[in-house]
Amino acid sequence: MENTAIKLKSITKVFPGVRALNQVSFEIKEGDVHCIIGENGAGKSTMIKILAGVQGCDEGQVELFGTPVHFKSPEDAKKAGIGVVYQELSNFMHLDVASNLFAGAVPTKRGRIDYKALYQSAREILDACGLDYINERADMNTLSLGSQQMVEIAALMHENARVVILDEPTSALTQVEVEKLFELIHDMKKKGVTIIYISHRLDEVVELADALTVLKDGEHVATMPMTKEITKDDMIRYMVGRDVAYEYGVGTSEIGEVLMEVEHLSSGKAVSDISFELHKGEILGIAGLEGSGRTELLETLFGWRETTGGSVKLHGREVSIRNPYDAKKNRLAYITKERKILGLFLNLDIRQNIAAASTERYVQGGTVRYGKIAENAKKYIAAMSIKCSGLAQKVLNLSGGNQQKVLLSMWLSADPDVVLIDEPTRGVDVGAKAEIHLLLRDVVSKGKAVIMVSSEMPELMASCDRVMVMYEGRCTGMLNNKELREERLMTMASGYTESPQ
């Protein structure tokens, strides 16, 4: 199989203020897993959207299996055999799983919707994808983020697509789900399906790729077959154009007095009997599997979820946090992992978003000082290297990773004492990851503290002073930075409590 599945000929796409793609040309071979890598804002998703008919290109030509195509709508691309899972979840929250699987292609019999067939085939697809724990009749919004993502991926299976495009599919998945996804990819590959795979996790690229394309600032850097010789460092050099300290050992800061004391905190069944102390200058990591109560713990601390027992002390004083407003008054900040739903104001510009959680800081003599707002926004755009066309760009139009950085900037601007943060670097490229870790370290070194939930073990090991492991709402262990080993974290995360030696 040495046919060309997709050929891109000098594709150019210009948005007001940015050239998202500039004369990009390369070929994708049929039956390959073709990985595309590049920094946040490099133009990866834009390229996908052009292939999928979501956006048109300003210049250039796409050839699919040797014939030039001009997709005017996602419908056209679908008919031509292109199936896509977009970077941002794009499902139907109010509807059940079966309806989501068959969106736009509900089975009919004699012109009538055939509900029996709908639920039956949905069950078959889920089982075939190893998703036997997902109920085809459950409402989508009752599933975890990872399960939702898996449902979107499973939806491609019945479409019999010849080309499957996955834009950062693993950013919301748990380890187990990632393995399932890889199995699915191998299955599809056996059937001769061409797969385009985008990810910031280079380990995945090493494991999956037959070929590799690197984009940088909208320009095509290289396309090459993947060989053993190509290392992660090589890839980073291609992407960033320089060496990055990949094993971002960001060091530690001075650990001060106790800032927050949590005693026997519970919230229903999701969080039970959690106790810990958080010191000034400390980054406390929380590890655990999806559903272990990590996120729920943060939600409880922030008053977003009802506290059913236990107490929280800040600066030695007991506080009662019943809603996010109380939390903010007590100088807590919470950065969620669902940035599109909770957190960002997609239709407002970057400047307004960054100022949103700290509006009172820009008031002087009773009036809002817009200059200060802009100044603060500029500071963070530089510190986090947010790629944008300017302060006035709508956050909706930023690339996924850059949206994450804006969300971070928004809460750090509020200058909180304790930052609660869930998956801080989801969707963020390697270079920016290190920058974000440095920034968090910088924050705590000023006498603040951070509680960070992450599914990425290397991230926890590189940036945390201590890591608490959770399983089914309970704490199963607390490890110092020096004791951190991936295997130990994993065993504790699966519910084995280590007896203190």
């Binding site: 419908e75 794009s90 139907f92 969106a103 109920n135 459950a138 559903g291």
Partner: protein, 334 residues
């Protein structure tokens, strides 16, 4: 919640507890509304002997026919996130167009056809405005709501039109097996509405579009076409209701369909259709309309001041939707 599902493996909807099942049923708006309606009817029949009379039911059903017919397509539109405020005005304007044609001496079928066609076009115009100018449905239909009402006023010159031919009047006054035709029209539209929303792919897409417009587009659903067609259908049915109303009353007045749109939106919300779209059913919408009308009926039967109708309907709206939100919150945070 997702947590539990992942751990316990496959969850089948069948092996729930009975009490859980009943709880689930009560959370369905259709069921709780139906129970409420039965209770309400029971109370009324105890309070006044006039309620359980055939004549009263006839009045009640005939009175709700106009609202109900228009509520059905409005419901489908709203599930897709497209609110429609222009129904009452469209009823009046297109009824007036038909009436004018009749008074010009046009044959009855032709006059009706013209009325329905203008209903279709003026309804569809809402969709075109939304698609092409990018207005939100609320703004677009508020505009046409006012403009159509104004156009009807101009046409009717502040008065009413009457003296229609007998062959026209019969369309609103005949009875079949003793049942007034207006009630039959209403039932047909309700049944067709239930069926198409459930079984026709085109109308069923309302749920996808209402749940997430952008995703619906990505899934290859033609959202713009859906929008225009559903608004056109609402317009056509509104025109039909207007024409039938003229036939039944024997006159076409400039107040026809006044504040119908607000009554219906309230009925839809009470019936469980979400203002944000993606949720709702024709059955729920129907029950919502019935509840609104029964309140009016009760007020008449009990000789209360008619203005209380609005007070009560307002309270029902806030209670019904408020209760729903509270139940959902409890479920989510449990």
């Amino acid at each position: 919640m997702s947590v539990v599902k992942q751990k316990t493996g496959k969850v089948s909807p069948k092996n729930g507890q009975l009490s859980e099942k009943i709880g689930m049923l009560l959370q369905k708006r259709e069921i709780s509304l139906a129970i409420l309606l039965v209770l309400f009817a029971l109370c009324l029949s105890i309070a006044t002997p006039n309620f359980l009379q055939v004549a009263n039911f006839r009045v009640l059903l005939q009175g709700m026919a106009t609202d109900m017919m228009i509520a059905i397509p409005m419901c489908i539109s709203l599930i897709a996130g497209n609110i429609d405020f222009s129904g009452g005005s469209a009823l009046c304007l297109n009824g007036a167009i038909c009436a004018l044609m009749l008074n010009q001496g046009l044959p009855v079928p032709l006059a009706i056809l013209i009325g329905l066609t203008s209903g279709f076009l003026l309804g569809g115009l809402n969709g075109v405005i939304i698609n092409k100018l990018g207005l939100t449905p609320l703004v677009a239909t508020m505009g046409t709501w006012m403009a159509y009402r104004g156009a009807a006023l101009v046409m009717l010159g502040g008065g009413t039109l009457s003296s229609f031919p007998e062959s026209f009047l019969v369309l609103g006054r005949a009875t079949i097996l003793g049942i007034p035709v207006t009630i039959i029209y209403m039932l047909v539209i309700v049944v067709v509405g239930i069926l198409v929303l459930k079984y026709s792919n085109f109308f069923h897409n309302a749920y996808y579009i209402g749940s997430n417009k952008a995703s619906a587009k990505l899934a290859g659903i033609n959202v713009e076409r859906f929008t225009v067609i559903t608004y056109a259908i609402t317009g056509t049915i509104a025109a039909f209701a207007g024409i039938i109303l003229s036939a039944r009353l024997g006159s076409c007045s400039q107040n026809a369909g006044e504040s119908l749109e607000f009554r219906n939106v309230v009925a839809l919300l009470v019936g469980g259709v979400s203002m944000d779209g993606g949720v709702g059913s024709v059955l729920g919408a129907m029950l919502g309309v019935v509840l609104m009308q029964m309140v009016g009926n009760a007020i008449t039967l009990l000789y209360l001041n008619a203005s209380y109708t609005k007070v009560i309907n307002g309270c029902i709206l806030i209670l019904a939707v408020g209760l729903d939100v509270m139940l959902k919150k409890k479920k989510a945070k449990a």
